[in-house]
Amino acid sequence: MVAVVPTSAQASPAQVAQRSSKTGYALLAPGMLWLIVFFAVPFITLFLTSLQAPSPTQAGKYVPAFELANYGQALADYWPQFIRSFIYAGIATALALLIAYPLAYFIAFKAGRWRSLMLVLVVAPSFASFLLRTYAWKTILADESFITRTLNTLHLLPEGRILNTWIAVIAGLTYNFLPFMILPLYAALEKIDPRLVEAAGDLYASPTTAFRKVTWPLSLPGVVAGTLLTFIPAAGDYINAQLLGSTTNRMIGNAIQVNFIEFRDYPTASALSVMLMAVILIMVFTYIRRAGTEDLL
């Protein structure tokens, strides 16, 4: 018996694999090209700049070198700003989560026909420029503003004011990055099948237990995505610290800005940027591992 093997009509598995991999590359190409041109090349330039040394002949100029000491020096000069950035961004992220979760929950499960409108309202402030919104907060938090006066009457403000303190910086960060927390949370919550929660109730779980055992774990991918999308830009931000903070609230973004623009010390500024990226990358990896959602990567 000779098995009839169809030869012409069907391609061999190898051919299929080859073709699909070609399609794969074709699909990847635009994204890869974009990344190479606008991320990989600038990053390599940034990294090389961070290793430059001052020119021996011309003051204010830098020449290619392998000056690893730039990193030590930058860290020695700016470790307080580094730590401050992560603390501020951490608090802002936690606050954003506390504010965003109930809101996203409400939009996903309770908003009914108002859902689309509420989503638009969440995004609406982003239509105004980031800078403008932060300037608006200067007015909202001014010494003579309603908020500051009320809190002062209650003796709740240690410095007697909000503007130009760490409170204002964290408030600004929380506000500005809140939509980045709400949207992923909403997307995750919205996907949850309400029947699962019903089933938990049928099995005598209290609403709290049902939330703890069903809704919360299922919304975790949203929590992880939201916290990352909030924390990462918040840690590198310098506008909020500059406009709402005081001289004692400078963050690492301010240090990078000052080195680039005021000192024109490109190596130090680049070293700070590379370190900021590295630290964030490490934190993100550890965080995602602990949260147990490697599939996000």
């Binding site: 002949t57 003051a59 204010g60 001289t247 400078r250 024109r264």
Partner: protein, 407 residues
């Protein structure tokens, strides 16, 4: 072999080292004879020999006559504006008179920031897309010594003869070959009269001591422009801001650090302090004269009795600008006394144009004796122009200053 001419050039450049290589010098199309000499002398030596002279900026083919446009970058709120229509009367009159269309950008917010924005193009010998820029003395000096500014053709600017004598010869540009002043101003103390009365029991702030009175804790801001804030503090400590030592500098930095750390100084700002004064967050500031005059009657200003600072913003034509002649025509226009008076009446800064005070009689008689536009001798005598700094000192002082203000 250093010729007399070359020595002069080196002196002009001061200790501010030029960073233009010989190669670029030779590339520059519009080499002045001085630069030729410098380049020729440098031919047998090392690169730094030629780099010590003032390099001449490259010139592009001047499109002025074919293309009647000009692009001008200036600071915000630095030209007369008709509040009702939002138009700029003097600028419109210029356009009508000459048929040249002016693109007026208010995109210079900070000397360093603006320089950072265009630096790469300047270094690579590219046109920065602007024909006229306005920069403060020390930054203008940096541009001139780096060869980023073109020599002015005074034949197109006969009105430059109206420049007041005091500003005709400056260290960074003797004889004003590359620059013409736009406006000058003072680093001063400014305050909210009523709030000051409420906190300190006085209507005038006359000294830095009062500014640092604990009763004003957290209600004071100083300028992020190093030269104004530090100039006032140096003078307060008895040093001469136009000629001081490192020790005197360090002691002034120490004072600033103390006041920042104690919370006396609430914030260090650029133009933002005007808003903070208006919102009532801040009672007293180290600020700029014209800004505070513009705020109105509820605010007052004055030099501290130990002295304030005096600075000038200058018009320059960047290397390779395509409409050099049109830019020069603008300079000429704004050096007509009447036009200068109109601008000064609005911006409230010191006009560098001789005869503007006369012309002010027709423009706004109430301003003929305005002391912050036409400063009397005692104000000029009590204000200092900050010491010129070379690149290394500039960097060192900037670092000290930024560290003191939390950066």
């Amino acid at each position: 072999m250093m010729s007399k001419r070359q020595e002069t050039i080196a002196a002009i450049a001061g200790t501010m080292k030029s960073s233009v290589s010989r190669r670029r010098l030779l590339q520059a199309a519009g080499l002045s004879s001085a630069a030729m000499v410098a380049a020729a002398c440098g031919a047998g030596g090392d690169e730094s020999a030629s780099a010590s002279g003032t390099p001449s900026a490259a010139a592009a083919e001047d499109m002025s006559d074919k293309d009647k446009t000009v692009v001008w970058s200036n600071w915000p709120l630095y030209i007369d504006v008709n509040e009702d229509t939002g138009s700029r009367p003097t600028l419109e009159a210029f356009q009508k008179e000459t048929g040249i269309t002016v693109t007026y950008n208010e995109d210079v917010n900070d000397n360093n920031e603006f320089y950072a924005k265009v630096r790469t193009q300047l270094e690579q010998g590219q046109d920065i897309g602007r024909d006229l820029v306005v920069l403060t003395d020390w930054m203008a000096g940096l541009w001139i010594s780096n060869g980023y500014a073109q020599k002015l053709d005074k034949a197109n600017i006969p009105n430059s003869a109206n420049l007041i004598p005091k500003l005709q010869d400056v260290a960074f540009d003797p004889g004003r070959e590359y620059s013409l002043p736009w406006q000058s101003g003072f680093g001063v103390l400014g305050w909210n009269i009523q709030s000051l009365q409420d906190t300190l029991g006085t209507k005038t702030l006359t000294s830095v001591d009062q500014l640092f009175d604990p009763k004003l804790k957290g209600r004071v801001t100083v300028l992020s422009e190093m030269r104004d804030t530090m100039g006032i503090l140096l003078a307060y400590q008895g040093a001469d801001p136009s000629n001081f030592t490192d020790d005197q500098w360090n002691s002034a930095i120490e004072l600033l650090t103390q006041q920042v750390d104690s919370g006396q100084i609430r914030q260090v700002t650029g133009n933002d302090y005007a808003g903070a004064l208006e919102s009532g967050d801040v009672i007293a500031v180290i600020g700029w004269s014209g800004d505070i005059v513009q705020l109105g009657d509820a605010y007052d200003l004055g030099l501290p009795e130990t002295g304030g600072t005096l600075w000038t913003d200058n018009m320059l034509i960047p290397a390779l600008a395509q409409h050099k002649k049109n830019a020069e025509l603008i300079m000429n226009y704004y050096y007509e006394p009447k036009v200068a008076a109109e601008v000064a009446a609005y911006v409230q800064y010191v006009t560098p144009v001789q005869g503007a005070q006369e012309a002010m009689k027709d423009v706004d008689p109430s301003l003929v004796d305005a002391q912050w536009i036409f400063p009397p001798q005692e104000i000029l005598d009590n204000s200092y122009v900050f010491m010129p700094l070379d690149t290394a000192k500039e960097e060192q002082y900037q670092r000290d200053f930024q560290k003191a203000i939390g950066n």
